[in-house]
């Protein structure tokens, strides 16, 4: 167990408080963008195409970036207060770089009207774009700044952990695979962090390549790069980032859930095999985004389907089975923290399953770019990652007793979960009814029934979003009251028998 001075503990708490408050401010703003989009699709308001795509771009980029940053910050806090000392100077550098990147993006979208979507849809920003060129340039530079920030943060955590645990192979848990006795136990959170962040670093390299290519074309618009190469690079980066966001959260579920169940959750051979397999598959699963690209070599399409299937099995199955064995007959008291983790794992399972369905080539032929796609990723993001994050915030702000007794917090939580899953159901229903994704509205669809169903589902979704917002506000109030009034709960792990 790491020994920290009171001053160090205080500094770490201030750091995570800054992140918590940032999340609680930015997240609802991004939800409101989603609400406006759904109202527009439901023909309740008239944003116009240009504004719709601006909101969609900021919403997508903002949510993906915010959730990754917050998951990483929480991981940073737990590792930095329990396992190794991390340099808070680097932590704040990362925070401020992210802030600069986000301000740049907000400026480029809201004022510059940049609306190319969250994966920038090359070569769209350079072909008859309706927004000024500077906003494309600013978006690219902002994304590069965000990338550098994340890279620095990830490198720091990996490096410090490697020094503490005796090198990379130990971080990957390979010492558990031999016959020798393991000298220093490897906490699962440390192994999962490693397995999440190393692909993150590699994906960053791919991300930097396409962003610098964008920058080149920004300076010299007559340039054109190979579109298939660009798409591969973009999805390798984007898909990996979203994947590792989930894995970062799982890291703290492995660390915190045992404190509630009183059962150990330690690293063993099965866990090592499962997570190391994930390490491999995570890198190839992104091919499923390119099924419609006929120019992509056929072998890679099959590789995409296989990697998507296999990536779902090891970490997912092992972690879910782990959660069940943790809680089964454990006499756990269902305070808001374990509840968030359990329901979050449920969201992850459902979203993951929907993803695997869509990653099946024959199904993808029908579902590609329908509302099924936002359906699956909103399930494991909104119904998974966000719940994990809230669980973590309650863990920080509330004592164990408060977690169990906070009625308003729990009410907010259930409202949020209810609203979120109903909202997501409108996406799935849309997908099954062939409602296309990324349509500002459905008025132009010549099949009248599709237009009417799409608009109706969007209106229904708007009602669900309002429930989500109410739930969010109640939870936020419960967290902020405790967080501001009181010192943050100390995150010492309970020694389980």
């Amino acid at each position: 167990m790491l020994q920290l001075s009171p001053l160090e503990i205080k500094k770490n708490r201030t750091f995570i408080k800054v992140w918590t408050i940032t999340f609680l401010i930015v997240f609802p703003l991004l939800i409101v963008l989603g609400l406006l989009m759904r109202l527009n699709q439901g023909e309740e308001i008239n944003l116009g195409m240009d504004k719709f795509y601006v909101l969609m771009t900021l919403h997508g980029l903002g949510m993906a970036g915010l959730l990754f940053s917050t998951s990483f910050a929480a991981l940073w806090y737990l590792i930095g207060t329990r396992h190794v000392k991390l340099n808070l100077g680097i932590g704040y550098l990362v925070y401020f770089l992210i802030l600069i990147g986000v301000i740049g993006l907000a400026y480029a979208t809201l004022l510059g009207k940049f609306g190319a979507g969250w994966y920038l849809l090359y070569p769209l920003p350079f072909k008859n774009a309706i927004w000024p060129a500077w906003s494309t340039g600013l978006s690219i530079v902002s994304l590069i700044i965000l990338g550098v920030a994340w890279l620095l943060g990830m490198l720091h955590v990996l490096y410090v952990l490697a020094k503490e645990y005796g090198g990379l192979t130990n971080l990957l848990g390979w010492q558990y695979l031999g016959k020798k006795e393991v000298k220093k136990e490897l906490p699962p959170i440390v192994m999962i962090t490693t397995i999440s962040l190393i692909p993150g670093v590699i994906a960053y390299l791919a991300g930097a390549v396409f962003l610098v290519m964008f920058l080149m074309q920004f300076f010299e618009p007559t340039l054109t790069f190979n579109m298939l190469l660009m798409k591969n690079l973009i999805f390798f980066f984007g898909h990996t980032l979203v994947n590792i966001t989930l894995y970062c959260c799982l890291g703290w579920v492995y660390a915190l859930l045992p404190e509630y169940t009183g059962r150990k959750w330690v690293t063993n051979k099965v866990l090592v095999y499962a997570w190391n397999a994930t390490f491999f598959f995570i890198i190839f699963a992104y091919f499923h985004h390119l099924y419609m690209d006929f120019a992509q070599p056929l072998g890679l399409q099959y590789a995409g389907q296989l990697a998507s299937y296999f990536s779902a099995v090891p970490a997912t199955a092992v972690s879910m089975f782990g959660v069940i064995t943790q809680v089964y007959h454990s006499k756990i008291k269902w305070g808001i923290v374990p509840l968030s983790f359990l329901i979050g794992v449920g969201g992850w399972a459902v979203g993951g399953f929907a993803a695997v369905i869509d990653a099946t080539i024959s199904v993808n032929l029908v579902f590609h770019n329908t509302m099924w796609v936002p359906g699956h990723f909103h399930t494991y993001m909104l119904g998974g990652v966000v719940l994990f994050i809230f669980g973590f915030f309650f863990y920080l702000s509330h004592t164990r007793e408060e977690q169990e007794k906070d009625i308003s917090g729990k009410a907010g939580f259930w409202l949020f979960v209810l609203g979120a899953h109903c909202f997501i159901a409108t996406f799935y229903t849309g997908g099954v009814n062939s409602i296309p994704r990324r349509y500002a509205d459905y008025k132009g669809i010549p099949i009248e029934s599709t237009h009417l169903i799409g608009a109706f589902l969007a209106r229904l979704a708007a009602i669900c979003i309002i429930i989500v917002i109410i739930g969010f506000l109640i939870m936020t109030f419960a967290i902020l009251v405790k967080l501001i009034r009181k010192r943050v709960a100390i995150t010492e792990p309970v020694q389980n028998s």
Partner: protein, 186 residues
């Protein structure tokens, strides 16, 4: 041999090589784009790096100066890859010599800073340089319009291809440094 003599010999050799590349051989190097961009520029950089390997420890560099210097190095590399700078350098030998001095300094500072800075910044810098070299190569290969009027399109594409390969090697080097940095035990 006394160390003072070694210093003198070392500095004389480096300065002599720099002079040969910059003066008597300048015209030959400026003849084609690959020679100019892939031989002359890296040769100067390499001489700077060699000097850095020997003398970098004499200059202590701490945060935030390391970051500032790395930005300077990156900016120099970008500046001397711009078509306008290349054209001017080929036309005006004096301007070309400015490039030589900058590259010597950049090489020297690169090794000085990378030796002293923290792991995180070292890897981030190496990653960005690899990406930059790779993308510059990709751009030159892809672009069908002549960028530097002093050369021709075939030379431009040849330079691009070689830069692309160099970028890949740099990226492999970055990953190697990254994994070996993580692999080292305390």
């Amino acid at each position: 041999m006394p160390s003072k003599t070694i210093h003198i010999i070392f500095i004389t050799v480096i300065s002599g090589l720099a002079w040969v590349i910059s003066f008597p051989l300048n015209e030959w190097f400026s003849d084609t784009m690959p020679r100019h961009q892939l031989l002359q520029l890296p040769a100067m950089l390499l001489l700077g790096i060699l000097a850095g390997l020997r003398y970098s420890r004499l200059i202590p560099i701490r945060f935030p100066w390391d970051v500032a210097l790395l930005i300077f190095i990156m900016a120099s590399l970008v500046f001397w890859m711009l078509p306008r700078s290349i054209d001017t350098a080929v036309i005006h030998p004096a301007f070309n010599r400015l490039m030589h001095v900058t590259m010597l300094a950049a090489g020297f500072l690169t090794i000085t800073v990378l030796r002293q800075t923290i792991f995180e910044i070292r890897i981030a810098f190496m990653a960005m340089v690899s990406v930059m070299v790779f993308v510059t190569g990709m751009t030159l290969v892809t672009f069908n319009i002549l960028l530097c009027s002093s050369f021709n399109i075939d030379q431009q594409k040849e330079t691009g291809l070689r830069l692309l390969i160099t970028g890949m090697f740099f990226a492999a080097g970055t990953l190697f440094t990254f994994f070996s940095g993580l692999g080292k035990k305390t």
